[in-house]
Amino acid sequence: MNSLGTGGVAWHVAMKDLRIEWRGRVVINQVLPFAALVMVAFAFALDSDAVLQRTAGGLVWLATMFSTFLIVQRSYAADVDDGALESLRAAGIDMQGVFLGKSLAVMVELFLLQCVLVLVGFVLYDVQMSLSGWGMLLVTMVGATLGLGFVGVLYGGLIAGAGYRETLLPLLVLPVVAPVLLAATRATESAIGVSGLTIADGWPWVGILFVFAGIFGLGGLLSFDSVVEG
Amino acid sequence: MKDVGFIALTYVVTFGAIIAIVARTLITGSRLSKKIPDQDKPWI
């Protein structure tokens, strides 16, 4: 195993996590319906087509954020129960690779979830968008997914193995990903063109998303080894 | 004095909280301190 580079470890870990997910189908059968229900609940609570169209961007990202907690929780459930993570470390596996692999798996799941949520949002809330708007939305989704994935896996690893994981993770992660929520919402709003915003207004926010992802990706790479250490 | 309610509330809550945490610190400190032998306390 040690002959694998960081990239090799990352690939194997990501495939392992995705295979576990594919067999259990928790994200598809539980997280995705939950997120869609949240979108429906927003529609009930706000009860106005005009308000929904104006807030559609933010609602999609709120639902995404709630789902991130569930996905990260799920990603660590199998690793923690039998101490697999610490065994990997004890076996001398490259922990940066594990971090990247777990992040990649979470990101793939998150991205697919977002695709569905965006479609649900556009159908339910009746939003129109130009072609360049779709382009910006796609870039926004990639940037936000990177940031959410890195932060989720990093903080999930920090409290993996401790009690109260389910309640503690949102408390820790929510303040950290606030810039992602803010930036992704503004970028999506300018992609849609809400309240006179144009596509050009969105690019600084997209920039923040990628800077954020870069900083926490780097932070995770540097610290994940100590994070997991017992 | 104008707005006396808001100002009084600020002072009462601030100093009330401070007195509470100081009292708790003193009580917990003396309770624990009796259980721990002095040679384990690096500050003495």
């Binding site: 903080y155 920090l158 409290i159 401790a162 009690g163 109260y164 503690l168 408390l171 820790l172 929510l174 303040p175 950290v176 606030a178 810039p179 803010l182 930036a183 503004r186 207004d201 600084p204 923040i208 800077v211 954020f212 900083i215 932070g219 610290s223 100590s226 994070v227 250490e229 017992g230 | 004095m1 104008k2 707005d3 006396v4 808001f6 100002i7 509330l9 600020t10 002072y11 809550v13 601030t14 100093f15 909280a17 401070i18 945490i21 100081v22 610190t25 003193l26 917990t28 400190g29 003396s30 624990l32 301190s33 009796k34 259980k35 721990i36 002095d38 306390k41 690096p42 500050w43 003495i44």
Partner: protein, 250 residues
């Protein structure tokens, strides 16, 4: 001072902390008396300026506390000996910081209601402060997760350093967010006041007094954390020796 170790009850305080405590009582006594009754009302803000004598010092102490937590966490992680002393200072400082941050937000929103007409503004400084508060609530929750003191120290030190990454990002994104909206003009009076000498003196005494209080609280609470670790280790040792004793009887 340690000539009569057995006659007086065991204490947490030392001469240094007594100096801090005495200064805090004296200075904060002046803040209450001077701030509420002796200083004049401000020309623009009126009496609501009196809130500033506790608001500004508590805000200063809250930020100081979190800086100390970050530095002590770095000291634990990067220090050669991984001294638990750093970890306990970080923890004690965060405890005090969370309390003072809560007080700052409370007094700030009351002041804002009087001056701006609203309890809350989505101003970058306020928003960042609120996020700092929530972040350190999470930090304290993680400290309480249990495990060995070393595990706790490492976990919370990493968390404190991640907060150092997080807070500027939050601040910058809120800054950009607010600059895109044009409603910042509500802050026409943003708290700039002309302070006369007595007012400035009271503010300064407040800062010194609250800082002395911070020093007293952190040294005491840091010692309490030390004793708690010792007590817990003792409890574990006791449990182990009891089990061994049980085993040898059978």
């Amino acid at each position: 001072m340690n000539s009569t170790p057995r006659t007086e009850p065991a204490r947490v305080g030392t001469p240094a902390t007594r100096v801090f405590g005495l200064l805090a009582v004296l200075f904060l006594g002046w803040v209450v008396v001077g701030g509420l009754f002796i200083t004049p009302a401000d020309a623009i803000q009126g009496d609501s300026v009196r809130i500033m004598y506790v608001h500004v010092p508590t805000a200063w102490v809250a930020y100081l506390a979190f800086i100390v937590t970050a530095i002590a966490s770095a000291g634990y992680l990067f220090g050669k000996r991984h001294s638990l002393g750093f970890d306990r200072v970080a923890g004690a400082s965060a405890e005090v910081g969370v309390l003072f941050m809560a007080l700052t937000l409370m007094s700030g929103s009351l002041w804002g209601r009087l001056t701006w007409g609203t309890f809350w503004q989505w101003d970058p400084r306020l928003t960042t402060t609120a996020f700092l508060f929530v972040t350190y609530l999470g930090y304290l929750a993680v400290r309480g997760l249990g495990g060995t003191p070393e595990r706790r120290a490492k976990r919370s030190a990493i968390l404190a350093l991640l907060a150092v990454l997080e807070i500027p990002l939050v601040h910058f994104s809120v800054l950009l967010w607010r600059s895109l909206h044009q409603e910042a003009s509500v802050l026409s009076s943003d708290g700039d006041v002309k302070l006369d000498d007595l007012m400035l003196f009271t503010l300064l005494v407040g800062v010194l007094g609250f800082t002395a209080l911070y020093g007293w609280l952190v040294s005491h609470r840091q010692r309490i954390l030390t004793m708690r670790d010792i007590e817990e280790a003792k409890g574990i040792d006791l449990a182990i020796s009891e089990r061994i004793a049980e085993g040898s009887v059978r």
